[in-house]
Symmetry: C2
Subunit: 184 residues, 2 copies
């Protein structure tokens, strides 16, 4: 991330991210780091120098999407259909959180405990969700007793589930917000 990086280091970092993305996509966030380094043709120590923890690697991988989520939250905050705005944002979040199997759970863990490299990003997403939730509640489009942590948890849960069930995260998240019970 420092602007002035030696060319070989920058190259290794980018290659590492590319291979890690492919590997995580295939095997989930708990894939072997040794294998990633091997596939890169890079020594394991170099991987650790660039990304001291698994979460640091994940953080770098989702960074762009987190930025996009933050921007979209601002854009959606003024929607005049706040429930749909919440759904739309949660769906984008859900797609991000289910990029790799196990990522949604890493996000949940980072939301619940300190000491993860995902903390800052997760907190910014949690805050974005909270803003949209509050707006929707003020418009009585969402039950007033629902707490941000619950929405966040359910969105991550749907992200996890979508990896196994024959259901995309978009549909699961709409069901969560609208409910399985019919509108009366």
């Amino acid at each position: 991330m420092p602007r002035a990086m030696r060319a070989d280091a920058r190259h290794n970092r980018e290659r590492l991210l590319k291979i890690a993305d492919a590997t995580f996509r295939r095997e989930g966030v708990n894939a072997s780091l040794a294998e990633i380094a091997r596939t890169c043709g890079i020594a394991i120590g170099t991987l650790y120098r660039h990304f001291p923890t698994r979460d640091a690697l994940l953080q770098a991988l989702i960074h762009d999407q987190v930025t996009s989520l933050r921007e979209n939250a601002e854009r959606l905050a003024d929607s005049d259909t706040p429930r749909e705005a919440l759904i739309e944002w949660l769906q984008e979040f859900g797609r991000c959180a289910s990029a790799y199997q196990g990522l949604a759970e890493s996000i949940l863990a980072a939301a619940a405990a300190e000491g993860s490299d995902l903390n800052a990003d997760v907190e910014s997403m949690r805050a974005a969700a909270a803003v949209l939730l509050t707006k929707a509640q003020k418009a009585t489009a969402i039950r007033p007793d629902v707490r941000p942590a619950e929405v966040f948890a359910l969105a991550c849960g749907a992200g996890t589930a979508s990896h196994y069930a024959t259901a995309d995260p978009d549909r699961l998240l709409r069901l969560v917000v609208e409910g399985l019970a019919p509108r009366e």
Copy 2:
């Protein structure tokens, strides 16, 4: 499980289950099997003789609860408040699936792929949920387009999430069924 088990074997099996339950409760379903054997004072080969796979161990641990879930599904099938019946059953399922961190995901995985010792139990739970879902749908208490796999997935997702969020699975599951949006 064979009725005629040598006394030492039966004793080891029970001790293994007891320690595994405590360990999984503390560290999740991916806790070290070597550590469990060590805590038991039993050789690792003995653990594998009793439970050839991690899922076989999990299957034995949740067996009683699965039986209870099957019985309760029958009892609840004739309820005249089918939506509440579904919620109640899903809540019991959710408590079972969130006994250990990671168990809900193991259940999802077993529901989606063959070759797990959890397959039979998971299938019986999936079927039980499907019966209650259909009843509720016939009574127009649940949206007709919701599929059993989706309900099952969301319940497992809520089970996973409840491990991290400040929310018990019971409340999350009620939210899922009733929806975050208010009744209109």
